[in-house]
Symmetry: C2
Subunit: 331 residues, 2 copies
Amino acid sequence: MDTQKPYVIGVDLGGTNTVFGIVDARGDIVAQDSIKTQAYQTADAFVEAGVECLKPLIAQVGGLDKIAGMGIGAPNANYYSGAIEFAPNLSWAHNGVVPLAQMFSDKLSTVNCQLSTPLKVRITNDANAAAMGEMAYGAARGMKNFIVITLGTGVGSGIVVNGQLLYGHDGFAGELGHVTMVRGKEGRLCGCGRTGCLEAYCSATGVARTAREILANTDRPSLLRDKPAEEIESLDVSIAAGKGDEVANEIFQFTGKMLGEACADFAAFSSPEAFIFFGGLCKAGDLIMKPIEDSYDKAVMPIFRGKAKFLVSSLMNANAAVLGASALGWE
Amino acid sequence: MDTQKPYVIGVDLGGTNTVFGIVDARGDIVAQDSIKTQAYQTADAFVEAGVECLKPLIAQVGGLDKIAGMGIGAPNANYYSGAIEFAPNLSWAHNGVVPLAQMFSDKLSTVNCQLSTPLKVRITNDANAAAMGEMAYGAARGMKNFIVITLGTGVGSGIVVNGQLLYGHDGFAGELGHVTMVRGKEGRLCGCGRTGCLEAYCSATGVARTAREILANTDRPSLLRDKPAEEIESLDVSIAAGKGDEVANEIFQFTGKMLGEACADFAAFSSPEAFIFFGGLCKAGDLIMKPIEDSYDKAVMPIFRGKAKFLVSSLMNANAAVLGASALGWE
């Protein structure tokens, strides 16, 4: 690390808020502020507002020449091109390619004329940023081969191989939520338009759907029946499972079995030291992690059995996404 | 490349023969000889015989100081440890760990006392060696992200990411023949002891089994009925398909569909520039490659569609394994 530049900027660009943080080498966020992502008509206006938001934070740590780099985690972001590409949920980027990394770098260079070279700005998608965060500050410190699986509205992944994020030929590698787990006509429809994807079963929405299916197809008693079926969320399943609800536990068994079988295939691919799970579903702890591990042990090739660790992210707080993105700034 | 050391040694260690070749930077084998792999009681005796076999080849190119390194492709070989580990088909290695790379390096250092540093010897499994060979001399020249899939007695793979072979945490990554394609009880028993693996369907033995199943379960006419069912090999299927036999073509459709669906999952993992197929089955050309590509295009995520190339190895001759192993010598 350049001791003259002890900070990086991390940006968590979400559908609602964009959070800017100044982060030190220990992973402490020393200054932070945010803007509304969609309050701007154009990408230019968004970047301008972002830099205005950053200015006082940067001043607080002694100016832009104390900053080693900047990392942005954003939906549909491509590390290679530095752009957000056709992001359906971003008003100023749903219809084209926005070279956000370059735009921030250019705009920031107007902040501080003393800067001899423009600030390096890198961008990647949310799950890859999570993987960088785990490697820099979290559960994957010291690891060179691991896979982060994010269990949120969707199922995302960040794959690290030889200490590097796996971007593939086009920058879009690591879409493990979209490996096919159920082939043929029985596969559930996935948000990507295909059927049978891991995400269709093991995302928060997938878990809620499993719950609704079991409740509709049986008359078994369950705490989950206290709510109208269409309002059930994965959090309700976690809460019910925690209270010993049999149906809720069966939902976690089903979800964990599929995740474990998927991880067994991933082991055959990259034989990671650890699988690190991130997202709301993990808050259920052993209720979900134990079924994953049991299923993995049964499904995996004997040569890999008992080798991989199954961990829950150690960055599961509100700032995880900022930290993850900031890790790109050290590159 | 060190112009003082214009050659590498490539070793194809197979169940029957071990072939030693001296290879130049263009991928020409300038000298070659072989020994019987299993004619020795111990690994020490095997290494001693190997070095005796190599001596005149090395002398032919001007001595060991013209050699940049040595690469060995062998079953159950681990790149990290430099050892062959519990290889069921090698009499002198089926029962333990043989540090073959170090043993060859040590033994070779007695050949030429002028050598200032011991020769670097690296070892890897056959499919990884094939991938190295494609990158150094074959269809993957200039590529940094690709997957070689070997369709032989088994299904093997060598995965290259960022220009590096993917070895994973333990050295055993890249076992794509053992991802699960058919889950549950209907899955075919695989040689690895599990069920439903890609290898159980798409290896040469898998293809022959598909043929026998179709012939047994239907009374459709086929050229394949000219032979006793238990003697049918994948080559017979290729020949019959080439003659327009409907059943044989259906077997290739079935095999190609599964390979294409598997590759669609692999794309979600590492988004390679190309899938390169190697082995006897590829000699059927478009009869197998077209079904693979068609199935891939249907199954893959839209974001990856139309991006990856589907290629047949350009090293499909008797020396491919020696060339592949030799590529390790340049590292």
